[in-house]
Symmetry: C2
């Protein structure tokens, strides 16, 4: 028997760290780092991709005061919950959510199985490959495409389809898998918070089943810590009598806006101590996180780096995009309520793991 420090990594945290850090190219799986807070005190920087400034200091300070047992703001380990939006917060969302690209890319396979759809809209437009026309599809048509590509199959078949796409699809700008377009500074935040006893959750407007396909490998976040927009399943049997869960076109949770705190209550049952987002879809989650006793951290990623990533929202350019709705009103609210705005341009030394210096 051996007494452990309150700051030592749990086996599960090590697993998550190993997975997440490996995905980010930092550490081999299984390498264990003990006493991260002490390491920090000894000069090792847990957030090396962050420039010094308010954003970085806010994260370091929050973790310090909530995990130091002598601090009045100490948070018991079982209550340490941190929630992260995904699109635009952990990975690139521009010019189109990756999951929407997935659904569009799935249309040919759907039409192959149901040839009668080939001359029906919106499938006809998608099959045409006319990007301008596809971008103009109305929301109702997009929903038809989501329904036909995200339901009707077993949960295992869906997973296999999504894995196949993730293995082969490439972002058109960087020519890399979408799962490599993750923000290195945020991977460091996930790793740092887990190393200090926080359970890190993804709370995304994206599909829960979709994100669960890669959350463990890419972010070190286990499937059960992904809260997303969720459709129902139905339990039944295949022709051999084996039980099957089939994905149904029935919305159980729209995990955007007010749906984020509602989803957090359903899936976690505790109010987060820290929340990270980048758009109006995250507003209520940040508000809910901050509006409670004790030290709470609310942060918004501002996309203001057109050179290394994109600039949209209140900073400059692309003010009226379909995604990344970081509005001027949200920016003012953040400033008024003490939510910390992260400038990708100023606060982040590197955006992606692959653009770190060698």
């Amino acid at each position: 028997m051996k007494k452990r420090s309150g700051h030592e990594l749990s086996r599960r945290q090590v697993l998550q760290l190993g997975l997440g850090a490996t995905a980010a190219g930092l550490l081999p799986v299984g390498l264990e780092i003990a006493f991260p807070v002490e390491a920090q005190a000894q000069g090792q920087d847990p957030l090396p991709s962050w420039n010094d400034g308010v954003a970085k200091q806010s994260i370091l300070n929050f973790v310090r005061v909530t995990t130091d047992s002598s601090s009045p703001e100490f948070v018991p380990p079982e209550q340490r919950i941190a929630t992260f939006d995904q699109d635009g917060t952990l990975w690139v969302e521009h010019p189109m959510y990756s999951q929407i690209v997935y659904c569009l890319d799935r249309v040919p396979a759907v039409v192959k199985a149901k040839p009668e759809l080939a001359n029906v809209e919106p499938y006809k437009t998608v099959l045409s490959g006319n990007r301008a026309a596809i971008a103009q599809l109305p929301t109702d048509d997009l929903i038809k495409i989501l329904v036909v590509t995200l339901s009707g199959m077993s949960v295992e078949d869906f997973k296999a389809q999504a894995e196949g796409w993730l293995d082969t699809a490439r972002d058109p700008r960087w020519k890399k898998p979408y799962t490599e377009l993750i923000y290195q500074p945020m991977i460091e935040v996930l790793t740092f918070m887990r190393a200090n006893g926080y359970r890190t959750y993804i709370v995304t407007g994206g599909g829960q089943d979709f994100v669960r396909v890669y959350s463990e490998k890419v972010y070190g976040i286990p499937l059960e810590q992904v809260v997303g927009t969720a459709g129902g399943t139905s339990y039944g049997y295949d022709k051999d009598g084996n039980p099957v869960l089939t994905k149904e076109p029935k919305l159980l949770l729209n995990d955007n806006n007010a749906g984020k705190p509602e989803g957090i209550h359903m899936m976690i049952g505790r109010r987060p101590y820290a929340a990270f987002g980048n758009s109006t879809g995250d507003r209520q989650m940040l508000e809910y996180t901050k509006a409670s006793r004790g030290e709470r951290l609310a942060m918004l990623v501002l996309h203001d780096d057109a050179t290394r990533e994109y600039a949209y929202g209140p900073a400059q350019g692309l003010p009226d995009t379909k995604v990344g709705t970081f509005t001027p009103a949200l920016y003012r609210e953040a400033k008024a309520k003490g939510w910390i705005v992260i400038s990708m341009k100023s606060d982040w030394k590197h955006i992606f793991t692959f653009d770190q210096p060698h």
Copy 2:
């Protein structure tokens, strides 16, 4: 840095063990036991309240073969999920689910706030205190009572109401708090599985918010590992502008029968390796658990001990109760499919922590 054994407890597991074992009176909080499987090999029995037999050996064997890295049935730690029904599996469900008692006991407070209900059925019957009449209330009336006592308040107010009741309510037979009517042998199973890297989930037909009020303290199971029948919440603001989640009379998940595997998919996203139940409401969960590759454990608690607890279902007596629907058909299915039936009378040395010998 120190390399750890695959069998050492994680910090979180220790926390859960400490909480659960303390509730069961076994260990002071924080006492850490390392290498439980080795301890077992050295003669310490992880299931001391179990008589030797098929049930006990099935549990020990399952944990051994799924956690020994040299075993062909080894299960990686991140996949180790075990699910437990609550009513009749972890605590007493007879003669009435405790949560139904809670809802009935809440009626006077509801009527005090809404005096117009005093002469309206079914509230009038509940207020009369006529137990025979209350027991005869039709399902529609019971649902009205559930809705009025489980929705309409903030999630914090609900928690305070339930905590107050749990502190003061007593089971009429044992004159003890309901949270003491937990089965000591099952607490040992929870503790043993967690000590071997399994994440233990409650998957209950009971209310998710209700069970979360005491799951951590009573079972060592954190709130986020409780899957139950769940109503929606709505995000809004109180008169001071503070955000509030209000419980709504809207059913999101009916976590019974087919709803159990559906709820497991939504809340956990992985198929369990072990599942424990006691009624037809657990049938699909056990079926879903067993119908996959690898070693899987499915167990059913049979209430056949009228002296120490109750006897109902296929064993003897009380064949037509409203609860505990362990039917003869379920018993036959269990025998046919290799689900292990636990006889409370034969397999358990003690039922409750409080009836252990000193």
